[in-house]
């Protein structure tokens, strides 16, 4: 937001100089400044995935989703089963952890579809 406020000022400062001198240099400097700003945006990762959702990203997201859905259920089931055999509370923790695993799996897929997995985190800051 701060950057947006500064942006209109910068050209208005440059324009009188440009009109007065008539040389091309301020114009070039301005485009250079814009380029630097654009570059800094990309290097900070601020651009994120929404700006350039390339096809390879989409395919890789699709490939990720399947495993992200299934594996947490298996992991949670495994944890629940072992807590049960350890404490002797046979089906209790297995059921609790399976439900948590399903929730976790769906949450992962939701995060991928909404772009709020770690890739997009810096967008929200």
């Amino acid at each position: 937001m701060n950057k947006d406020n500064q942006d209109p000022k910068a050209p208005s400062n440059d324009n009188p100089v440009k009109e007065a001198s008539g040389s091309k240099q301020p114009d070039n400097l301005k485009t250079l400044e814009d380029k630097i700003k654009d570059f800094q945006k990309t290097t900070d990762g601020k651009k994120g995935r929404n700006a350039d959702d390339s096809e390879s990203n989409n395919i890789s997201d699709g490939m990720r989703a399947g495993a992200e859905l299934i594996v947490p259920i298996l992991v949670a089931g495994f944890i629940g089963y072992h807590i049960d055999t350890w404490l002797g509370t046979k089906p209790l923790f297995l059921i609790i952890f399976l439900l948590l695993g399903m929730g976790s799996g769906f949450f992962n897929v939701y995060k991928i579809t909404q772009g709020i997995d770690n890739r997009g985190k810096s967008d929200k800051d």
Binding site: S60, R64, E68, V75, I79, L100, G103, N118
Partner: protein, 252 residues
């Protein structure tokens, strides 16, 4: 018809070595890892030897590979992730070569074994935990509590986040291993169909005609398999980046 699982068998090359009950033989898996390591080192070194302004083929290849990984890190970790370049680059190249060398006839796909992919994934996982805790201290565990979530929901979200965090190395390993193994299995099964159709008695030349169809499917599958090989090396590297991102900036 030959056994489609035979291609995944690990066999000692030349001789078998047994030290203190541990099998330390140089296996076909180790051989192809060795080939991948040598091939990548030689290609990149040879590509960078000339440093011409107008790059030749090898140099262009090396530079494209470098830029691809550098961009991946910049997009997914940000400028602070530059220190991870050697790690991500090495991981990407070794997985990529493992997948692609596996497409050669008579070769062995070492990424089709879960022990290999799990070792890579657990290494990344352990690295995230160690670097995360060293750099951020106990603050690292705020990873499990996303910002801006109401307190009541946190009670639900924190267990979910912990489970999906624990599942990370397994998703990473299983995805790569399952895709490589399934792909090679399907190729072999379709090749087996061809052989079986030729072998049917009493239909003569018609067996060869029918046998051509699975072969046609197989040639399409091989192209698809090469796509999968490239894609999963990319996915593995991107996810390593995403996980390592947690070590450089936590979400606050």
């Amino acid at each position: 018809m030959s056994d489609p699982l035979h291609q995944f068998e690990i066999q000692p090359m030349l001789f078998s070595l047994d030290i203190g009950g541990v099998d330390l033989s140089f296996t076909n898996s180790a051989l192809w890892m060795f080939i991948a390591a040598i091939l990548s080192t030689v290609t990149l070194t040879a590509g960078m030897r000339r440093k011409a302004l107008v790059p030749g083929r090898l140099q262009a290849l090396s530079e494209m590979l470098y830029e691809f990984v550098a961009n991946m890190i910049r997009e997914n970790i940000g400028s602070k992730g530059r220190g991870y370049f050697p790690l991500i680059f090495t991981t990407f190249v070794i997985v990529l070569l493992g997948n692609l060398l596996g497409m050669l006839p008579y070769s062995f796909t070492y990424t089709s074994h879960i022990i290999v992919t799990m070792a890579l994934a657990l290494f990344i996982f352990a690295l995230v935990i160690v670097i995360g805790i060293v750099k951020n201290g106990t603050k690292f565990f705020s990873l499990f509590a996303p910002p801006g979530v109401p307190f009541v929901l946190l009670l639900l979200v924190i267990p979910l986040e912990i489970i999906s965090f624990l599942a990370r190395p397994i998703t990473l390993a299983v995805r790569l291993f399952a895709n490589m193994m399934a792909g090679h299995l399907i190729l072999k099964v379709f090749a087996g169909f061809s052989v079986a159709m030729i072998g049917i008695e009493g239909i003569g030349i018609f067996g060869y005609v029918a046998g051509a169809f699975p072969m046609l499917v197989n040639s399409i599958l091989i192209a698809f398999e090469i796509l999968i090989a490239l894609l999963h090396a990319y996915v593995f590297a991107v996810l390593s980046c995403i996980y390592l991102k947690d070590t450089v900036d936590l979400h606050h």
